[in-house]
Structure formats: structure tokens, C-alpha cells
């Protein structure tokens, strides 16, 4: 049974507690919103290829909080060098989870490199991540939840999902609003005065 992206993201974000989330542009940002909008989710509407590095910056700034980057295969492919950079920094509190439908979902469902066999999880392992797993079932997703909460990372997961069109559930678009609500939820009201 092929995994469905909304089920996967909903499971990863269930009872998320103090988890900080960066959502890569496009479908994964909509998935996170469908699972429940939160000020501690930062959905990207641009800067394609930068999601994993945003997660690294956040993980370094907040070493006591868990950080999850949820992004798509196309977005991750555009920033492959960041796997090497994260592999060097080795932040224990970071997980990068790629929702891999093997398609560019926002531009017409064209095949990405992962459709042709490019193995992102193996790349992450080779780059120095503590783990890099290919996930194809909900048991694998449940194991990720465990790593997300307590394992020493950085962790990487490539989660194969169906190439389906799902209803758009959009987060706010205003970048300054998204930044400010995240910082105030994380750092307190004084963040506005920093």
C-alpha cells in the first residue's frame, strides 16, 4: 500500500510538542498546513533549495529544541550541497524528511531525478548524517517519530509517497508575518524588540 503524503505529514506532526518545523515550498508546506497550522511551522513560499539550510540555522540557534525540515524531492534536489554542509556540522537535533512523490507537483507533475532512481537517503548517509533511511510504510514513519523525538541526529528520511493531487490548504503568505509569529512563539514577545 503506497503511502499518502497527507497521512505521513499528519503522523509526523501529531502531538508535536515543542517541535520546530521548516516546510519547503510547495506541496509539503500545504501538507503541514493541512495537518494544522502552527506559528512554530515556517512554510516557505520561495527560496527553493534552502529549506534544509534553514533547518540547520534553526537547529544551531536552538540546540535544545528538535527541528524538523519537511520538504519535497524537487526542493531537496535543488540544495543537495546542504546535505554535505549538514553532514559536517552534525546537529543532533535536526531531521530532514523528504516527502518523495518523484514529481515537481507545482509545475505539472514532471518527474524529478528520484523518479529515475536517485537515492537521497544514500546521499545523506554518504554526507555524514547519523542516519538516512528510505521509508515506504507507516511502520517506517512511526520509527521516524521516535528518532525525531529522542535520537541523536542529524537524521534524514526519504519517504516515498503516491504521486497524487491533493486539495490546496494554504498557510499565510506574508513572509514578515510568518517570521514574526514564529519568533514570538519561540522566543517570547520580546522577540519583537530584538
Amino acid at each position: 500500500m503506497t503511502l499518502l503524503r497527507r497521512d505521513v505529514v499528519k503522523a509526523l506532526l501529531a502531538e508535536r510538542g515543542e517541535l520546530l518545523v521548516v516546510a519547503g515550498l510547495g506541496s509539503t508546506a500545504w501538507d503541514c498546513t493541512a495537518a494544522g497550522d502552527s506559528p512554530l511551522t515556517f512554510p516557505m513560499w520561495g527560496a527553493m533549495g534552502c529549506a534544509a539550510m534553514m533547518g540547520l540555522g534553526l537547529a544551531l540557534a536552538q540546540p535544545r529544541r528538535r527541528v524538523l525540515v519537511l520538504t519535497g524531492d524537487g526542493e531537496m534536489l535543488m540544495g543537495l550541497g546542504s546535505l554535505a554542509t549538514i553532514g559536517v556540522q552534525k546537529p543532533q537535533n535536526l531531521m530532514v524528511a523528504v516527502i518523495d512523490n518523484e514529481r515537481y507537483g507545482e509545475t505539472g507533475m514532471q518527474a524529478t531525478h528520484t523518479a529515475h532512481g536517485v537515492n537521497l537517503a544514500a546521499m545523506a548517509r554518504a554526507a555524514g548524517f547519523a542516519s538516512g533511511v528510505l521509508v515506504r510504510d507507516m511502520a517506517g514513519v512511526a520509527a521516524l517519530r521516535h528518532s525525531l523525538q529522542q535520537g541523536a541526529g542529524p537524521h534524514f528520511a526519504q519517504i516515498k509517497v503516491a504521486a497524487e493531487k491533493v486539495p490546496l490548504v494554504l498557510p499565510p503568505r506574508d513572509g514578515a508575518l510568518l517570521k514574526n509569529r514564529f519568533r514570538q512563539a519561540l522566543l517570547g514577545a520580546s522577540a519583537a524588540l530584538q
Partner: protein, 181 residues
């Protein structure tokens, strides 16, 4: 004569002191000859997390994530690297994320490599086109003050600010000199 025009102060040391005093907790860089000493000073400073990157574009994500988490980030890059950050700067502009960018120039003053010239000549214009405030330091003594001012502008004004350090300060690279080192 390829020596730097002005060597009256140790600009990397003074610039590192500025970054430390202003509380920069994360410094992202791609290795660069002009920034070599400043990078080494930042690496040796336990108050700063130095992050070596594969391309300058990673730095924009790094800086944005750091700021979401409450940390100030400075990026050190060569002028050619400015060409690699252009689209990502759109996020900085839209989200009003403060970031300090310190750029060592190539293709600008006595350059010998023609492949460096187009990006070097376009650097300031490209940054301004993306909403980045630009300050140009043409002498070593100006660099720390410019970095201090640009950092205040960036973090006071919630924007990106760049200091372009002229090849007059860094010295003009030549293969002959490299061969002799």
C-alpha cells in the same frame, strides 16, 4: 606592484572584534583567499559557530533559520558568490530577515582573470536590485567601521546589508604570486 594599497590596520582582526562585540553567533562562509584570516579568527572563536558551505546560497537559508531561532548570522563570501544568492535574497527581503554579508571583491581593481570581471562589475548593482543595502570599503581602515555600520543597519532595519571590500584592500591576486607562495 601588487601589494595592497592600504595596510595601516589589521582589518580581519578588527572586523572579527566587531562581529564578536555585536553578538554574531553564526558565521557562514565559502573558503576564500581574501577572507582567509577573518574565517580563521571566527573558527577559533567559541562564541561563533562557523559553518563552511558548498555554495553561498546555503548561507541565506542558514541566516534565515538562525534568525528564526534568535541568533545573528554573518556571511563571508567573494563577489562571485553574490551571483549564487540572488533568488534566495528574495526570502530575506520578503520576510525582512536581517543578515550581514561581507564580500571580498574580485573582478574590480586590477583583476587579471577576465572570468571574474562580469560578476565583479555587477556585484553592487545585483545586490541593490534585490534590496540589499550596500557599503563599499576602499581602504583597510574603513572595513571594521563599515562592517559595524552595516550590521547595525541590517539588524536595526530588518534587512540585508553588504560591505564590499575592494581589491585595493585585499591585494590583487596573480598566479605568479600564488606560485611563489
Amino acid at each position: 606592484m601588487n601589494a595592497p594599497v592600504a595596510t595601516d590596520i589589521d582589518w580581519p582582526l578588527a572586523t572579527h572584534q566587531v562581529l564578536a562585540r555585536l553578538g554574531f553567533g553564526v558565521v557562514g562562509y565559502v573558503p576564500d583567499a581574501g577572507h582567509k584570516r577573518l574565517i580563521e579568527l571566527c573558527q577559533a572563536d567559541a562564541r561563533m559557530r562557523s559553518v563552511v558551505m558548498t555554495t553561498e546560497e546555503e548561507g541565506i537559508g542558514l541566516a534565515a533559520g538562525a534568525w528564526l531561532g534568535g541568533a545573528k548570522c554573518a556571511l563571508l563570501m567573494q563577489s562571485s558568490g553574490v551571483g549564487n544568492i540572488v533568488n534566495a535574497l528574495g526570502m530575506v527581503h520578503e520576510c525582512r530577515i536581517p543578515v550581514l554579508i561581507v564580500v571580498t571583491m574580485r573582478g574590480e581593481y586590477g583583476e587579471f582573470n577576465p572570468w571574474q570581471v562580469p560578476m565583479g562589475q555587477a556585484t553592487a548593482e545585483v545586490l541593490r536590485a534585490m534590496g540589499v543595502a550596500v557599503q563599499q570599503a576602499n581602504a583597510a581602515a574603513e572595513v571594521p567601521a563599515h562592517v559595524d555600520a552595516a550590521a547595525r543597519l541590517a539588524f536595526g532595519g530588518y534587512c540585508a546589508a553588504a560591505v564590499l571590500i575592494s581589491q585595493r584592500v585585499i591585494g590583487i591576486k596573480s598566479f605568479q604570486e600564488q606560485a611563489e607562495q
